[in-house]
């Protein structure tokens, strides 16, 4: 099991890029949310990789990861609720149409 | 289809799509070929339209081409759960029209047969109701075990388990010898044991209570307005039982109670049937105790070329589903001029929508089960 840390970092970077691409290119708000989830997870993967290679003695990294996952879950819940509320007004979840700023 | 609004007006609350499904003729729990077009909002029933006619056999038109006796076997096929009381209703109507006097022993035998068919009908009705509630066939098979004994008795007497064709104008076709009477006494003796076991299994069962109480309430006024009859009406508090009103046959001389409920929900309809079974057992004990000897068939009735003087008449019987009536018009010939049946199942079905709206899909199925309809009678 002699995978250098670099491989994990590159993997996280690629996943982050895919998530970003998804979030930016797709029109559907839900896919944008999914892209954000992918970005989030790749960041946490990065974190755990560093814990495993360098600071395995102290469990703080795992705590940090747990908090991050909790926040991500809360964020996606609120995000989806927003999407549903928006859908009710615009009858579609098309990101481009959500231009007007008034309520 | 139904004119219900397809979605809640736009811009308002969250627009969930109303789901129109048809719990169709091919469905495991519609008691026969019966369809309900249901508009669902999620799980809640918004509108429900019963669709009948899949089992229409044109019985009333056929009867006008047949002799009076010829349509007697067809009355077995109306409510095929209790063919005995169907026969009785038709025979009663003809006897009233033609003024035939029925010998004493035949009257007693008629009461025995009608009450036994009520027992096996109510037993299977509550069995099917709990099957719809989801009990995996156990209550139904306990009920069918009792029903088998009664059907074997019918086969020994009349020759066929369900299509008995046993009644004739002015009496019955076959006399009960002692061995058949002993068999009947044994059935009646064992029935209360089945009822107690059934009640212990289901009546105080928390899941049944949660599922059936306060579900599908039929108010008393609606029951009267919709001319509902039978256990469904008595569960809502309508005190009307034709055995007490008309006192036909020998019901006048027997003492028995008629249970009447108060709330009129699915649980009441279930428990009223259980109490009615206990009353029927009391009736059967009295009748089997003092059945007189004598002929079982009025002599003056001819088998062929039997003519009824012109006129019309309406005979009715308290069947297991409700008031089963026959309206006959004769113009003196061997064939009826008009032959109409008052089907209790069909009329009890008209209030299905009022009971189901607002409840869940699962409740709609139980409410249908609690009315206990048989499609042979609904579609005729």
């Amino acid at each position: 099991m002699n995978i250098p840390l670099g491989h994990y970092l590159i993997l996280a970077a690629i996943l982050f890029a895919i998530g970003l691409a998804g979030a930016l290119t797709r029109k559907n708000a839900i896919i944008v949310l999914m892209g954000i989830e992918v970005m989030f997870n790749s960041a946490i993967l990065n974190l755990v990789a560093f814990w495993h290679y360098k600071h395995f003695a102290v469990p703080t990294a795992q705590l940090f990861a747990i908090f991050a996952i909790a926040i991500a879950a809360a964020e996606s819940a609120v995000g989806l609720a927003l999407v549903i509320a928006v859908y009710r007004h615009y009858k579609s979840v098309d990101v481009d149409e959500m231009k007007e700023l008034k309520g | 289809m139904i004119a219900a609004p397809s979605t809640i007006p736009a811009g308002g609350a969250i627009t969930t799509q109303l789901l129109e499904i048809s719990i169709g003729p091919q469905h495991p729990s519609t008691h026969g070929v019966f369809r309900m077009d249901v508009v669902l909002d999620g799980e809640v029933v918004r509108a429900l339209k019963p669709v009948v006619g899949y089992l229409h056999r044109n019985h009333e038109q056929l009867a006008e081409k047949m002799s009076w006796l010829g349509s007697m076997p067809y009355t077995d096929r109306l409510d095929y759960f209790n063919s005995m009381s169907n026969n009785w209703a038709y025979a009663l109507a003809v006897e009233k029209l033609a003024g035939i006097k029925v010998p004493e022993r035949a009257e007693y035998i008629r009461v025995i047969m009608a009450e036994l068919s009520r027992l096996q009908n109510h037993a299977s009705a509550i069995g099917f109701l709990l099957q719809d509630c989801g009990a995996w066939g156990t209550p139904l098979l306990y009920a069918f075990k009792e029903r088998e004994k009664i059907l074997d008795f019918f086969e020994t007497v009349s020759g066929s388990r369900m299509m008995c064709n046993y009644f004739r104008f002015g009496g019955v076709r076959v006399d009960l010898n002692d061995e058949m009477l002993a068999m009947a006494r044994k059935i009646v003796a064992e029935f209360p044991k089945f009822l107690d076991e059934f009640e212990k299994l289901m009546t105080t069962n928390e899941v049944v209570l949660a599922r059936c109480q306060r579900v599908g309430i039929l108010p008393k006024e609606l029951a009267i307005a919709g001319s509902i009859s039978g256990p469904v009406a008595r569960a809502s508090g309508v005190e009307y039982d034709i055995r007490k009103v008309d006192k036909y046959g020998v019901y006048g001389q027997l003492e028995f109670g008629v249970p009447v409920g108060a709330v009129g929900d699915v649980y009441d309809r279930y428990y009223i049937r259980v109490l009615e079974m206990r009353e029927s057992v009391k009736i059967l004990q009295q009748v089997l105790r003092d059945i007189p000897a004598g002929p079982v068939q009025a002599v003056e009735v001819k088998l062929r070329g039997f003519k009824i003087p012109a006129g019309d008449g309406y005979g009715r019987v308290e069947g297991a589903k409700g008031e089963l009536g026959f309206y006959l018009v004769s113009e003196g010939g061997p064939k009826p001029y008009r032959y109409h049946i008052r089907p209790p199942s069909f009329i009890n079905l008209t209030v299905l929508e009022d009971m189901c709206v607002g409840h869940k899909v699962a409740d709609a199925i139980i409410i249908l089960g609690s009315i206990d309809i048989v499609l042979g009678e609904v579609d005729r």
Partner: protein
């Protein structure tokens, strides 16, 4: 797995290292794939015979002596059945759903110990893993219901997902009580902690006040999660025909059945591990004979739990959707939280009788409070008058 690894290492010293590792890994998997589907086949037969006997009739007894070959016959029949896929269905998801239903059922057995030291993977977080994998079945149910594009199965799918997700919470909380008492998440140590005492039985957690409550919660949660009798809403024939597997036929339907039964048995296995002392029984011990008896004990307890499932299935009708949800959130969850507090009392009140009194008192009070405040289902006194 470690014990097998040492065992193999010793016997096949000369074989290259990685083959021993792979073999050590494959043997438990072969055990799981072999034993549990066989138990599934047997359960279908036992279920039909037991239901038959409850309903005063014989179960299947035509195929083989007492119908023993019936599962074989069923399997063959289903294999030959035509596999109809609705034209409108979403082919990919429709195909994937039955596969995904079986996976969580089998994954749970990885952490269920069968005999001392014999568990497929000795994860340090065994219990949590078992419960986490349980939630994956919700996804497969939804895929099945949604992919067959038919209104009834969609209703069934939504009900199934809501039910699995909302019964996941009380089950996990009930499991937390045992984890607190045993101090570890690894299933092997939990079972060892339940050994000892008179005849290896008195230490079972089910004989503690909080253990009994946890056991009842876990059984109810298990029934709900695998959609078994009082909660078989998703495929309630009377309302939704087949629920999410209406549009499946042929071998895919058999996979659904297998997935459901395996999930049911998996929850039964976890219940046995957590509360009924896994393989602990009068004879079970580390030796070869000891572990054989231990295995016997484990499978007989598993059979007992399956019989309980069948018994309940033959008796009780099914709950309605909203009652089901209300029951989970209003009764089971508070009871589970109260149970955790009870374990706290148990842990810190060292004198045994005092601990017994306090925890039982605490639990009984809360039980009465909970039943009082949602007493809607209790029999309303009805009087019937005779006319």
């Amino acid at each position: 797995m470690e014990t097998i690894y040492q065992l193999l290492h010793v016997t096949f010293a000369n074989v290259p290292a990685w083959t021993v590792q792979v073999a050590a890994f494959l043997i438990p998997i072969a055990f799981i794939f072999g034993v549990y589907p066989a138990i599934f086949a047997l359960t279908t037969l036992v279920e039909r015979k037991a239901l038959g006997r409850i309903q005063n009739r014989y179960g299947p007894n035509r195929v083989g002596i007492f119908g023993v070959l019936q599962p074989l016959a069923d399997g063959l029949k289903i294999l030959l059945k035509e596999d109809i896929v609705p034209r409108v269905a979403d082919k990919f998801t429709h195909f994937l759903a039955p596969v995904l239903i079986v996976v969580p059922g089998l994954l749970v057995y990885l952490v269920v110990p069968v005999a001392p030291g014999m568990v497929a993977v000795d994860l340090k977080i065994g219990v949590l893993f078992a419960l986490a994998v349980g939630t994956m079945s919700a996804i497969a149910l939804f895929m099945a219901g949604w992919a067959s594009r038919n209104k009834f199965s969609l209703l069934g799918a939504v009900r199934a997902v809501a039910q699995v997700v909302s019964y996941e919470v009380p089950t996990v909380m009930a499991g937390v009580a045992v984890i607190m008492a045993a101090g570890t998440l690894s299933t092997l140590t939990i079972v060892q902690r339940q050994g000892g005492g008179i005849l290896n039985i008195s230490n079972w957690y089910v004989f503690r006040p909080w253990g009994l409550v946890g056991f009842v919660l876990f059984v109810i949660g298990g029934l709900a999660e695998s959609a078994r009798c009082p909660f078989d809403l998703p495929e309630a024939e009377s309302e939704l025909i087949g629920g999410y597997h209406t549009e499946y036929s042929g071998f895919k339907f058999a996979l659904f059945q297998m997935g459901e039964y395996l999930a049911g048995m998996a929850m039964a296995g976890v219940t046995v591990t957590l509360f009924l002392g896994g393989y602990m029984g009068p004879g079970s011990g580390p030796g070869l004979v000891g572990s054989l008896i231990a295995m016997l004990w484990f499978f007989s307890k598993l059979a007992g739990m399956i019989m309980l499932n069948i018994w309940i299935r033959g008796t009780w009708p099914r709950l309605r959707v909203d009652q089901l949800m209300g029951f989970a959130w209003k009764v089971l969850l508070p009871l589970a939280l109260v149970n955790i507090v009870a374990v706290g009392f148990w842990h810190f009140l060292t004198p045994r009788p005092l601990a017994w009194v306090v925890t039982t008192g605490w639990l009984v009070i809360w039980f009465l409070v909970l039943t009082k405040c949602n007493a809607s289902a209790i029999l309303e006194k009805r009087e019937y008058r005779y006319v």
